[in-house]
């Protein structure tokens, strides 16, 4: 009797604590979404408006499509820039991630089956990721400017490829390690070359793992800020940089516009993240933690 009472109490306490943190975790996201629908008078009113009243789409139409008629003149930032940045971001993040997963998974196969990199080398590979990128950005931008890669998609794709490769190798290796070798040995006896074994047997077997790796690295490249800030100038901007341009474009704070842009950047990322939620732990821990 007393025991079941206590169990009930702990269950309630658990719900209270979890709900408490859920509110903390969700409130900023709620605020961003709510602000993106607010008309300009409610962006920083006192007392604050928690819900847009009435909700309006003007922020979205103005920011994403440069629709002037929705803009009070002082807030008008009329151009279709964000759509171009969206295109840039998609191309850059997509290409770099694809390269990373493609070459990473082949390397991972080599490491898993032929030990082309010793364990020490594998951990040294992680250094590419663990040393803060700030320490190389200055010489990198000079190097790129000599090569004419500054402000180009190629430059950004190359450096994203390099910095996400460790994640790709480690994460796909953790999937390949789980594939039994017997199938490959059978293929080899039947006369398949090593490359055919990789592309027609092993990689198809870890298909879902490859998709998870792709989406995971897409999260990293999509939201990357520092390298994009340095390497891109005017021709090529990615979405996070585009968002930071709204800071200080006008004297007034343009929260509603920022929020509309921020929602557009974040929602795809959240969808991607929720699709691979089971694999996030594996990704962030370089495949060391599995579920």
């Amino acid at each position: 009797m007393r025991k079941s009472r206590r169990r009930q109490l702990t269950a309630i306490l658990r719900y209270v604590l979890l709900t408490g943190w859920a509110v903390v975790a969700f409130f900023p996201i709620f605020w961003m979404i709510s602000t993106s629908f607010k008309p300009d008078t409610q962006w920083f009113a006192w007392p604050p408006f928690y819900f847009p009243h009435p909700p309006t789409l003007s922020n979205y139409l103005n920011v994403w499509f440069g629709a002037e008629e929705y803009a009070a003149t002082q807030y008008a930032i009329s151009s279709q820039k964000p759509l171009i940045s969206l295109l840039n971001s998609t191309i850059i993040a997509g290409t770099a991630t694809l390269l990373s997963v493609l070459f990473g998974s082949v390397m991972a196969y080599g490491v898993s089956r032929y030990r082309i990199l010793s364990e020490t080398r594998m951990f040294q590979l992680l250094m590419l990721r663990m040393i803060p990128p700030i320490v190389i950005v200055a010489p990198l931008s000079l190097y790129y400017s000599t090569l004419g890669l500054l402000d180009s998609m190629t430059g950004l794709i190359l450096i994203y490829f390099l910095t996400t490769l460790p994640y790709a190798v480690w994460m796909t290796k953790s999937f390949i390690d789980e594939v039994p070798r017997e199938i490959e040995q059978a293929a080899e006896i039947l006369g398949a070359s090593r490359w055919r074994t990789i592309f027609e047997i092993v990689l198809p077997l870890i298909r879902s793992g490859l998709v998870a790796t792709f989406l995971f690295i897409l999260i990293l490249t999509w939201s990357e800020y520092l390298l994009a800030l340095i390497i891109t100038k005017t021709q090529v901007t990615t979405l996070p940089i585009e968002l930071s341009k709204y800071q200080g474009t006008t004297e007034g704070r343009v929260y509603g516009r920022q929020a509309a842009l921020a929602v557009g950047i974040t929602i795809p990322l959240m969808i991607v993240g929720l699709i691979i939620r089971k694999h996030l732990a594996r990704g962030f821990s370089f495949g060391m933690v599995r579920r």
């Binding site: 658990r14 900023p28 040393i131 700030i134 929260y255 950047i265 993240g273």
Partner: protein
């Protein structure tokens, strides 16, 4: 194949010609797999590291002519940086920021993971909500924080309403609070990381030792400290080490929100290097600082890697044991 045709003394092992050609093929295969990495290291990373070294010993800024005939100054720049109190403070701030936010992420992540270690109704819902902060772009976190935290903003309003007292700290403009504010943002942003890793760890704990301890009559508290915690050690290390390294490199939130201000209150190492290079255009000084930070980080990372290697072995052993068991 005719093994007898090859004199036995000339071959170190028992390699037949066929075996040898196989070895060659494998070697070729290895190199072709490694080629992209080697090319990237040789043509992207190496030149960059070389340039960084060059600028560390040559005085150059963007106003001067071409960088290749910059003046050689020996160790002068290193002396300048090492005696710069701002640099020292940036190191202290970065370490404090990384330590504080790592501990914060860990405590919250562990508490959440522990509360959710057994299935219950609504678990999937909470899991989904808890990982959302990790899936927001860091710059977005910074700008959203600005919308939330200005002095008459919603956070102060909410806290005042709930507590009934007039709660009005200047989160972003008070130099004493600014760094803790950024730390709180980092914790909000990345506690989910510690949470998912620790939850995965808790889920992977074998149940037998816990049941055995329960049968032997151990208290819940003792089971936690003496059975569960030791089994969790690898994931705990992983959560702490990886988070600490990421926090040392944190730039987008600190920069987008405060640019190192107010004053120098949030000037962490990445921010100070960025300011030196792109606001004061002291490229050489920035390079020296980068170099020193890189050395510092290499020391930390080598230490971290040693820890990770050890813990990875015990993790692999645990997963192997699980596979064997069922």
């Amino acid at each position: 194949m005719s093994v007898a045709a090859v004199p036995a003394a000339s071959i170190p092992s028992q390699a037949s010609p066929r075996e040898r050609s196989r070895q060659r093929a494998i070697r070729r295969f290895r190199w072709s797999i490694l080629a992209p990495l080697i090319l990237l290291l040789a043509f992207v990373l190496m030149p960059v590291l070389f340039l960084q070294l060059y600028f560390s010993f040559h005085q150059w800024t963007v106003y001067l002519g071409s960088w290749w005939d910059a003046e050689f100054v020996g160790l002068d720049l290193f002396r300048e940086v090492l005696t710069d109190p701002r640099f020292g403070w940036a190191v202290v701030r970065s370490l404090a920021f990384a330590t504080g936010s790592t501990i914060g992420c860990f405590v919250i992540g562990f508490a959440l993971a522990y509360l959710m270690r057994r299935p219950f109704r609504g678990q999937a819902f909470y899991y989904t909500v808890f990982i959302l902060p990790m899936l927001t772009v860091p710059v977005v976190v910074a700008y959203t924080a600005e919308m939330l935290l200005y002095q008459s903003g919603p956070i102060n309003d909410l806290i005042s309403r709930i507590s009934g007292i007039d709660f009005k700290p200047m989160w972003l403009t008070d130099p004493n609070i600014a760094l803790p504010t950024v730390m709180l943002l980092e914790i909000w942003n990345w506690a989910p990381f510690s949470f998912i890793i620790l939850l995965a760890g808790l889920a992977a704990i074998p149940t037998e030792p816990i049941e055995a301890a329960e049968i032997l009559g151990a208290s819940k508290w003792r089971i936690f400290w003496e059975v569960e915690l030791p089994l969790l050690r690898p994931v705990i290390f992983l959560a702490l080490v990886l988070r600490f390294l990421e926090a040392m490199a944190e730039f987008p939130k600190t920069w987008a929100l405060l640019q190192g201000g107010p004053g120098t209150a949030t000037e962490t190492l990445p921010v100070y290097i960025f300011l030196t290079t792109w606001q004061y255009f002291e490229i050489s000084k920035g390079a020296v600082m980068s170099y020193l930070v890189m050395l510092l980080m290499i020391v930390i990372v080598l230490f971290a890697i040693r820890l990770l290697r050890r813990e990875k072995q015990s993790l692999d052993a645990m997963y192997a044991g699980q596979k064997a068991a069922g």
